[in-house]
Symmetry: C2
Subunit: 465 residues, 2 copies
């Protein structure tokens, strides 16, 4: 079988990159993304195998030869993966993850890798945009509207990478050791004969985590007065209340009134939490209206990335190896942006030494050296007359070895470490690049050697057709 | 602890219903939905328990008393669930699933139930709309853009319920025994020195499932001529080819040309499969342009329900039981549509005896009898002057017992059975109700007894405030 015939002679390198504007949304550009999902990729690759059950099923399809099934039986992933760290800020067209493996393996793992990286990167990016708008204090509240359990669990993880401070998903909290938080449900309040009775019962159960949902009946005339009554009782018993949550109505007006009422009652430290179909747009609008909201519970629109529910990351063949020699490959397309960058590559980020801000990313052929000792001329990869010379910069290879010979070699990092890394690296970007309205487009340029290779291959393939 | 104090005296009934227009989209109405996810709900409820690890984690949060943790340790779900069958056509505001269980249990299971039902119903509904537009032959191709592995796997299941004829998700194929199908990747073609060589290798591997991807280099000048060459070789060796797949370019034009070229070469039975960012809108447009496409591979926009990535199903307290007596509960809201229907309920569907078409759905209080022996007067639940008398009809209770005393009692159905059921029941709706442009709104009315209870409770609660 031909699939088998090639397995020992040929290696493949697949690159997963992020095309921009796969789903053009009016007034929306994909500017930056927050990479995530690499941990799940490493775990998957280390565990990849086909058990007897799987093989019996594949045999039953009548599509595969016994030789191929025998090959699958013993299959383990033996390849190498380099990838950006989770939490890294990445841009369209960058090879954020490269697999180098025997061709059969490289093709087998394509879909799983894309699923994990596309999903977690999507949600981490959306979370980053929401957290940027809120200025902090965003809780992930979306499990009930997630696209299945994994979407809720790994989505909560990705939301933390993007900047959320906690999740209502207790299972994700357990798996990834992140703060969990939540409040009562409306049904809790409705289960009692009165709202006051419901609040008192909750305060007895959670005297030090007493966040009361105040909108079940009437926020200003019932919910907040009842909450204040219970907060006074709590304080008399030696506990400080956490605050109130608004889940409906005019959040700008209600939050200002709630703040005033709580302050007048002497609960200046009680927080006002708001939830209800929030996203970065509505949060920015609420803040512009002077809403007094300390904490944001964001559900549906975060956990589904509602305005852009899929990231168009792709996995393309970059090169094959014959007798150890790299043969670069290119995928052509009538759409210029969809022409791949051929061959094995590296991605570097250049930072200004004075400000420590990122200047540009720079994609090279593998093995090229990028020195910060001399000025570096950058040029636009299509409009090549646009040029810029960079000096006094430092340079960093954006990717690390994630898997070597089928084994994970990159450190396992805690979610807190990943989130801190994201925050730190994000702060190295001028807000002109990360803002959501009409951002500057961050430069992702090619080295002259990569540019030449691409030009030559495009022109040669064009002639051959 | 109050949670514990009530557990033996009080039962709760939660209803999950589908509010309409949770996400108003211009020119889009949520008309019908295809219910799904109940199988996963039953499996979850039967398996619900907290292991030592879970309890240790919950203890570490410092929020819960030892008494409550001891209660969780022994917890099994002991309640009852009635729900519509998977594949049932359902409408906004209908209680598609009701849990009757001790209050703690009823609250604990809320999020999981909503996640499973919201997700699978969302994707089954989207699939139904896409399949309706295509008129059949839709393959689910979306795993790589799904929001995590579960979203891909259960999304593929839901897509089959909605009407898809197969999936590229081999794991879902194995789990749910559904047809799997796919084609080569572009990287397969690029791995060989020429397209013809790649096609020949594929034909050798899959002589009876030879569907060739023809757009890697140039569809009309390279891909299809090479495919025809290989198809001739296959036929000479005693195999009939499956067809070609188009994944880019002008699908209307290319499919017509592909059809003509295949026919002229004597391959009238070879199919033309199309893929690439398809959904019900683009499929309808392609068909209106006369595209010659036999099979549709639909990915991203199906598996994420891209234009509406979350279904706003909610779970609300309908009643509590004290000493066996039902005390109906209602959730008020300034938004009339968000006021819940109080108390334990049933949902009936009325069918015209002559046409066997559905006339209306009819929500009653539990225990009411709905007789088809006498004319039944229906009225609009808000604009009550809109009335209609139904005669010569049959009536069906839309829900079945799914779980009784914590054990599944509804039959486990194959995915094929569920999909057939959906197709059959769907055919009982006039297309005026299911069409996507300006549909008639299907009637979901309340019985006089339920209407009176709701009115009384709304007015009483209003006075009490």
């Amino acid at each position: 079988m031909s699939l088998l015939g090639r397995k020992n002679t040929s290696n493949a390198a697949g690159c997963s990159c992020l095309p921009s504007l796969k789903y053009p949304c009016p007034n929306k550009l994909i500017t930056y993304s927050v990479a995530a999902g690499m941990d799940q990729v490493a775990e998957y690759l280390e565990g990849l195998s086909f058990n007897e059950d799987d093989l019996a099923y594949l045999r039953s399809l009548g599509l595969f030869s016994e030789g191929f099934l025998a090959y699958l039986k013993d299959l383990r992933f033996t390849g190498d993966v380099v990838a950006v760290r989770e939490g890294e800020i990445v841009f369209p067209y960058e090879p954020i993850l490269t697999v180098k493996a025997p061709m059969v393996q490289a093709q087998l793992v394509e879909t799983a890798i894309l699923t994990f990286v596309n999903h977690q990167t999507l949600i981490a990016t959306k979370a980053s945009k929401i957290c940027e708008a809120a200025g902090g204090g965003v809780m992930e509240f979306g499990l009930r509207r997630a696209q299945g359990a994994d979407a809720g669990i790994y989505g909560a993880r990705a939301a933390m990478i993007g900047g959320c401070v906690g999740t209502s998903n207790v299972y994700a909290g357990k798996l990834f050791n992140v703060p969990v938080s939540g409040t009562m449900a409306h049904s809790w309040v409705m289960n009692f004969h009165s709202e006051l009775e419901a609040f008192r019962a909750y305060a007895r159960s959670f005297p030090d985590a007493c966040l009361l949902l105040v909108d079940t009946y009437d926020t200003l005339h019932s919910g907040i007065p009842n909450a204040i009554t219970v907060f006074r009782e709590l304080r008399a018993a030696g506990h400080e209340p956490k605050g109130v949550r608004l889940d409906s109505g005019d959040l700008a007006y209600l939050s200002k009134e709630a703040r005033r009422m709580l302050d007048e009652a002497g609960f200046e430290n009680a927080i006002v939490c708001a939830s209800g179909d929030l996203d970065e747009v509505s949060i920015r609008s609420l803040k512009a209206q002077g809403a007094k909201i300390d904490s944001w519970g964001v559900g549906t629109k975060l956990i589904t990335s509602a305005d852009l529910p899929a990231l168009g990351g792709v996995y393309k063949l970059a090169a094959v190896f014959e007798g150890g020699k790299e043969i670069p490959k290119i995928k052509l397309s009538d759409t210029t942006e969809k022409i791949t960058n051929p061959g094995m590559k590296e991605v570097y980020r250049l930072y200004d030494r004075k400000t420590d801000k990122a200047i540009a990313d720079y994609i090279t052929r593998a093995g090229e050296e990028v020195s910060s000792n001399a000025p570096l001329e950058l040029f636009h990869p299509v409009e090549t007359w646009k040029r810029m010379t960079v000096q006094n910069f430092r340079v960093r290879n954006l990717r690390e070895q994630l898997v070597k010979g089928g084994k994970r070699v990159a450190p396992v990092r805690t979610l807190q470490e990943i989130a801190s890394y994201k925050e730190c690296e994000y702060s190295r970007f001028w807000e002109e690049y990360t803002r959501q309205d009409l951002p500057h487009i961050y430069k992702v340029d090619l080295s002259p050697a990569l540019y030449r290779l691409k030009r030559e291959m495009v022109e040669r393939q064009g002639r051959e057709e």
